[in-house]
């Protein structure tokens, strides 16, 4: 501005602040039209589910500053909980999703209780080790989990919603059914971030000592954040189980935890929409590279290293920073 306009309201909100206020509506609006701009609908469902996984992970990594390498345990327990409820106990799809989410939440309590006792850098190692314990435990319980072969037969041909039968096998129906769950999760997530609890999380990330000195119970706040994050990832796992109709044992392996770390960093940690951008980027990179070469993991590793070194804010974070400067 060259001249000062006295009639203009002072502190006119930056358009980014306005967008941030309506972040839930904007994110949902994007996700509603999303399947129409992806090459095929199964990819859209993958991005949606893994985006939710990354969203839940972002609560501890992006907002609390805790690097967990054990979130595969939540995705896997949610998936197995939901799958086993359907396959072995013939429970309805909705109840099964709740069971999956609840079992992951419960696991979050146990893992969190053990891992929060350690400080700083230990956290990544301990969560990784604890998640591998879950991996081997599920691996051994063959009669229930299918062991090495994974859990098969989580087939849902049709699902009934309030008495209406929907063909779940249709990818478009599947996308919007799953989106309904993701939408509730996104709204809830936004409310958590906007709450005083969310503010304490960010205070811990910025300066743990100071948050403690201000009288906040840092250990308990971290534990609660870890459990909530586990619940979101468990829901993602349960949705993934009915989406793929199989739960591979690799879901629980720590390499799956590594994937969500990669997605978060690619998208932009500590940003609201970043996890979905990260999931989309990761799956697109994987898709495109796998078509070109069987050694795509080499390039995934290199891309990740480049982001760590030069773009630690990730794609969405860098875009936001660029938009703020303008």
């Amino acid at each position: 501005m060259t001249s000062i306009d006295l009639t203009a309201p002072r502190d006119q909100p930056h358009w980014l602040d306005v967008a941030s206020r309506y972040r839930v509506a904007l994110t949902l609006a994007f996700l509603v039209i999303f399947p129409w701009i992806t090459p095929y609908e199964a990819l859209a469902v993958n991005i949606l589910v893994l985006g939710l996984y990354a969203l839940g992970f972002n609560l501890v990594f992006g907002y609390t500053g805790l690097l967990s390498f054990g979130h595969a345990a939540f995705l896997g327990t949610g998936a197995y909980g939901c799958g086993i409820a359907i396959v072995s106990y013939k429970i309805g799809w909705f109840g099964a999703i709740l069971i999956g989410t609840a079992s992951a939440t419960l696991l979050g309590v146990v893992m969190g209780f053990l891992a929060i006792r350690t400080r700083g850098i230990y956290f990544a190692m301990v969560t990784l080790a604890l998640s591998m314990c879950v991996y081997y435990a599920f691996y051994q319980m063959q009669s229930l989990t299918g062991g090495e072969n994974g859990l098969r037969g989580v087939n849902l041909q049709t699902i009934s919603v309030l008495g209406v039968s929907l063909p779940f096998i249709n990818p478009t129906v599947k996308y919007y059914v799953i989106l309904a769950f993701v939408a509730v999760a996104i709204w809830l997530f936004s409310r958590i971030l906007a709450s005083p609890f969310g503010a304490v999380l960010e205070a811990i990330r910025e300066n743990e000592e100071r948050a403690r000195a201000c009288g906040y119970d840092v250990a308990r706040t971290k534990l609660v954040a870890f459990i909530i994050s586990g619940a979101f990832c468990g829901l993602a796992g349960a949705l993934n189980a009915i989406h793929l109709s199989i739960v591979p044992i690799e879901t629980l392996h720590y390499t799956t935890s590594g994937q969500v770390v990669m997605m978060s960093l690619l998208g932009g940690m500590g940003t609201f929409f970043g996890p979905f951008v990260g999931a989309a980027a990761f799956l697109l990179i994987e898709d495109v590279l796998a078509m070109l070469t069987s050694h795509w993991q080499l390039f995934v590793g290199i891309i990740f290293i480049v982001f760590v070194l030069f773009f630690p804010r990730g794609i969405w974070g860098s875009l936001l920073q660029w938009a703020e400067r303008k």
């Binding site: 690097l67 290293i305 760590v308 630690p312």
Partner: protein
């Protein structure tokens, strides 16, 4: 329990110590790097795997196990030096998560590079002829190669202890772990110490890879589960404590071999339960101190 005699128990104990020897070497490297650089090396399992492949390659080239045993840690350590200098150094001071994330990405690069160079399927690494067979150790016959593992680990542990506790360079390393600022003020180039320590730590990881190769055969993915096990040992022993790494490594080895005897289905889970117990009682690990080399 009448079926299991005292001799069998004793033999299983020694087997556990031999298995623990590999864990000790892995945890020593991890702990050394963490104690000084404050870096959790997520590529440690990948360095272990690269060590096994470099070992096979050099063994094939020279036909001599001993030459390969000496050159492999040097080769892998040299890779470690390059990684520290080029990739890790720009990240110091940017938060402890970034080096960790970088080494995680690096492990993908290492695994895939080995797949490109040596193929997707695994290889066998024959036990060198001098070390085949078994010897009577008083309680029964025990594989010679596993005895050799225990011996060489003892030598490495002693050498490392002597280097760190009794030499001028070790003094600088210990000082650098305690207070890098002061060491820098005294006119010592701390970044050279960090470089050296990362090289030593990864070199030991490479050595443990070539030592483990005859026991299990080698695949590009062999380092993946090893990383989790090495973390368990480091957490049990206490991060940054070398004595803790030795004790915890042996303890974990013995726990694995004992559970494989009494409850084979629990063998994989047992060490994680051990870790959970230690975390409940002593969250810092058995001999853990914050930061400095203990």
């Amino acid at each position: 329990m009448s079926g299991i005699g005292l001799e069998l128990l004793a033999l299983q104990l020694v087997t556990g110590v031999a298995l623990g020897a590999i864990y000790v070497l892995l945890a020593l490297g991890l702990s050394l790097i963490f104690g000084l650089l404050n870096v959790v090396n997520f590529a440690h399992g990948a360095f272990f795997m690269v060590g096994a492949y470099v070992g096979v390659f050099l063994f094939g080239l020279t036909g001599n196990f001993w030459v390969s045993l000496v050159l492999t840690p040097l080769g892998v350590g040299a890779i470690g030096l390059a990684v520290e200098r080029v990739l890790l150094r720009p990240l110091y001071g940017r938060g402890i998560d970034y080096p960790l994330l970088l080494t995680f990405g690096l492990s993908y690069v290492f695994i895939e590079t080995i797949r490109i160079l040596f193929g997707l399927t695994g290889m066998r690494f024959p036990t060198p002829p001098e070390l085949r067979g078994a010897v009577n150790i008083g309680i029964g016959f025990f594989p010679l190669y596993r005895l050799f593992l225990i011996g060489i680990t003892a030598v490495i542990v002693f050498a490392l202890w002597y280097f760190i506790e009794r030499t001028r360079y070790g003094l600088i390393i210990r000082a650098g772990a305690r207070d890098p600022e002061i060491v820098r003020v005294l006119g010592i180039d701390v970044s050279k110490i960090w470089l050296l320590v990362f090289g030593i730590g990864t070199g030991i990881a490479g050595l443990s890879g070539v030592l483990a190769a005859p026991l299990q055969g080698i695949t590009p993915e062999m380092g993946v589960p090893v990383l989790a096990e090495a973390f368990v040992v480091t957490v049990v022993g206490g991060m940054g404590s070398l004595a803790g790494a030795v004790i915890a490594g042996l303890l974990v080895g013995i726990v694995v071999s004992m559970t494989s005897l009494f409850a084979p289905e629990m063998a994989k889970v047992s060490i994680f339960i051990l870790m959970a117990l230690v975390l409940l009682v002593r969250p810092r690990g058995l001999l853990g101190r914050a930061g400095a080399l203990g």
